[in-house]
Structure formats: C-alpha cells, structure tokens
C-alpha cells in the first residue's frame, strides 16, 4: 500500500482479499454482482454506462477506473462516457436543488 495516499490504483487488484475473513459473504456478493452485470433487459453496455455514472456520483476512483475501461471495452467512446458523467452530475445537482423546496417551505413558514 502506498504510504502517501489513501487511494492506490494497485489496490483495485486486491479487491478479492476482502473475501479473506468473510468468504461466504464475499462469494454471495460476487455472485450477485456478476448476475447484475449480465445481459438482461438492459444490455451489458447499458449497465456499464449506468455503473460509470454511479461511480462518479459516489466518487469511487476504483469504480471510475474499472468502468471507464469496461465502457471502452464495450465499444463506448468518450462522447458517450462524458454524457454518462453528465447524467450523474445532473442528478446530483438536481438533488441539491430540489431540496431547496424544503428550504423554501421552512423559510416560508417562518417569514412574515
């Protein structure tokens, strides 16, 4: 592990070590994870783009790395990747903004 940063790209390859002390939970998680990303009503490519957007929303550098690669390997180009990031950005921004209604409600109740 790097001494100078919390996030080390090499740690992504060590993800499976999370199974060391809870192997059954790890196996169940991975089985579920694999099933989620299989082709279904959504294509594997659509799921990868959703994952990329979510990765940006939760700001996970490992997921951003993994799903940028995954999207490229599923034939997406940078225009499509960027649009997916904007979807995350719009939802995050919109989520903040829509909470402004609560702010307005409270202020409206208190103001003369």
């Amino acid at each position: 592990m790097s001494d100078s940063a919390y996030y080390d790209p090499a740690d992504l390859a060590k993800f499976s070590t999370m199974g060391e002390f809870a192997p059954q939970l790890w196996e169940r998680f991975m089985s579920y994870y694999g099933a989620v990303f299989e082709e279904g009503a959504l294509t594997a490519r659509e799921k990868a783009l959703i994952a990329l957007a979510v990765a940006h929303a939760v700001q996970c550098p490992y997921c951003i790395d993994a799903y940028t690669n995954s999207c490229l390997e599923k034939g997406c180009d940078q225009e499509q990747l960027t649009e997916a990031v904007h979807v995350a950005c719009a939802i995050r921004g919109g989520a903040s903004l829509v909470h402004g209604v609560q702010c307005k409600n409270i202020a409206g109740k208190l103001e003369l």
Partner: protein, 345 residues
C-alpha cells in the same frame, strides 16, 4: 522497437511467458500447427496510402517492399500443392502492389476461397476504382477495415479525411452487390481505439449495422473485432505512453483457454513480401520467422521441396511445426480471442 521488449522470456512482472502459461493451463498442444493447414496469408507489400496509428505492420506511404511475381508464383504453387483452402491477401494496402490484379485473378482460379483486405480509402483513388467490379466478377471476399462508425473515432486512428472516403469505398462495394446477402461477402474489421480490449463482436456488429445503415445507407455482412497487438506502431504508442506493461498485464489477466484453442496460427501460414514465412503477421512484425536449416524458411524453399520431393515432403516444413511465440501472443488469447477472422471464443 517494441518487439525487442516482448521476447517470451521477458514477461512483465508477475506474468508467465506465453509458452509456460499454456503449459500451466494444460493447453501446450496448441503451440503445434495442424497437420492440414487451411489459410495462406500473403502480405504482398508494406506500402499503404494510409499510416494508421495502430498498424502492427507499420505500413505507410514511405514503405516500398513488394512481393515480386516469382514469390507470388511460388506461394500459389505451395497453396495448390499443400491443399490450402483460403488465400488471404493483405498488406499494407495490397492493391498498391503492381502485380496485385494478376495475383487476385490467378488466386481466384486456384483457390476455393480468396479474401482480399482493403482499407477502403484506396478504392477512391482513380487507378483502383475498378477493383470492386473485378472482385465481384472473380467471386473474391472483401474484408475491409473501419475501426468505428463515428468519423472522429476512425480518424483518430487513421488520419484526417479518411472516414468519408471509407464510406465512399463501402458504397462502391454495395453497388457491386457486396454486403447485400447476395453471396458477395463484405466483412468489416474493427479494432479498438486504444489500449483496451474490443467489445463483444455480436453487440458491436448490431451497433455498426444500425449506425452505418441509418446514417450512410451502407450494408455489410459481418463485423470482425480484432484486439490491438502490442507490436509495431501500436507497440511504439504503448511505449511512448509508458503503458506497455499495463496493456500486457491486461491481456494476461484476460487470458481465455478457449481462445487459446482457437489461435489462427495453428491452421495458417503467413508469407512476407520477401518470401519469408511466419506463423502469423504479428510474428512478422515481431521479427519471429519460421526457421530452416540455412536460416529463415522461405516460401521458395517449400516450393522447391515440393517440386523435388512431392507435396507431402514440402508441406512437412509447415504442417505440424512448432509455433514461435512471444508476449504479444497474449493479444490473441485475451477475452473473446482475436484473429484475422475476428473473435475466436
């Protein structure tokens, strides 16, 4: 040269040499060529009107090596005598070899199946505009390269003003009945636009078909996805970016035993412009020729052995041979596999 870094005994950290990995996976028998070879690939020039960034042959306008007629004749003799089924004509841009039309015509007369590879753009040059009609007349299959259906993605690899010319080339082929389920086969080869694996072939084919049809009214039969091989110009790109080891590690981590069973070198031989023989044209780019008693094995050696001792004796130099390998071979065994005919697993 990237190839110097890719000798099979110089695997990057943690990666086994290719031959050892196959042994470990229990599939070392795949490193022996079949007793009956199917495909002879003729690389008849490294000259090309384009200079693509991913080209493992490092083809371009400044390359002038050309297969001469005598070498072509020797290759056709070995093809016929050795019972090959498919003649695969490639380059560079094979159309630029001055004996190209003679080769394709004689090949069509002698082979069950002739494939010619084209970059499409060359078909828009005045001296080559007649070729789609000639191919249609001879019943030649066309394998064209088009990395992507988006102009910017294709031109990032192949250079400016290439995309529209490629579409014009596709339209000229469609006009001759190619790609229209008419029996005149038109396949597109697509390779990734960087250091990552290609998409699933069937999914990419659906995408290409929709986009090319809707936007350009262009049809084709099948899309063949090919993994970028870390040799030649693409190897140089990886080195310049400092990501050669990362890319090799990605190929290594994506090793697929099923793809290893389908590697194309088991059933083919590749002939370079100078007549040297290789297991495939990636080995050609990596400088790994087949060996013979005096040094490198030439197609003329095989033709001579056939003439003197019979076809079986000649083919004994190629059939059942040990395949030469390097770290670049992991490109053909990664993911869904890769070959000049697309995915293999």
């Amino acid at each position: 040269m990237a190839s110097a870094l890719l000798a099979d005994n110089e695997a990057p950290g943690g990666c086994l040499p290719f031959a050892l990995r196959l042994e470990q996976e229990g599939c070392a028998e795949h490193l022996v060529a079949a007793s009956q070879l199917e495909t002879m690939q003729l690389n008849i020039t490294s000259r090309c009107n384009l200079q693509c960034r991913h080209c493992h042959i490092e083809a371009g306008p400044s390359r002038f090596d050309e297969m001469d007629r005598a070498t072509m004749d020797a290759a056709l003799d070995v093809f016929a005598g050795g019972g090959f089924g498919t003649l695969d004509i490639t380059g560079g841009a094979p159309e630029l070899n001055e004996s190209y039309e003679r080769l394709v015509t004689e090949g069509a007369a002698r082979a069950k199946r002739v494939m010619t590879r084209t970059n499409l753009v060359v078909l828009t040059l005045p001296q080559h505009r007649h070729l789609p009609a000639l191919w249609a007349e001879l019943g030649v299959e066309v394998v064209c390269s088009l990395p992507h259906y988006e102009q910017r993605n294709t031109e990032r690899q192949r250079g400016p003003a290439v995309f529209e010319a490629a579409i014009e080339g596709l339209k000229a082929l469609n006009a001759q009945g190619y790609g229209l389920v008419s029996g005149k086969v038109l396949n597109i080869v697509s390779n990734p636009g960087g250091a990552f694996l290609p998409p699933a072939q069937a999914a990419a084919e659906r995408e290409f078909r929709t986009r090319l049809s809707e936007r350009h009214g262009v049809c084709f039969d099948h899309l063949l996805t090919i993994t970028n091989n870390p040799v030649g110009r693409f190897g140089g790109f990886l080195e310049d970016k400092g990501i050669l080891s990362d890319y090799l590690a990605r190929l290594y981590a994506s090793f697929n035993p099923q793809a290893a069973a389908g590697i194309m070198c088991r059933t083919q031989v590749s002939v370079a412009p100078d007549g040297r023989l290789y297991d495939c044209d990636f080995n050609q780019a990596a400088g790994l020729p087949l060996r013979f008693e005096r040094g490198d094995l030439l197609i003329q050696d095989v033709a001579q052995r056939m003439a003197q001792n019979g076809a079986t004796a000649g083919m004994a130099l190629l059939a059942g041979r040990s395949i030469r390998v390097g770290q670049h071979c992991y490109a053909c065994t990664a993911g869904a596999g890769s070959s000049c005919g697309g995915a293999t697993a």
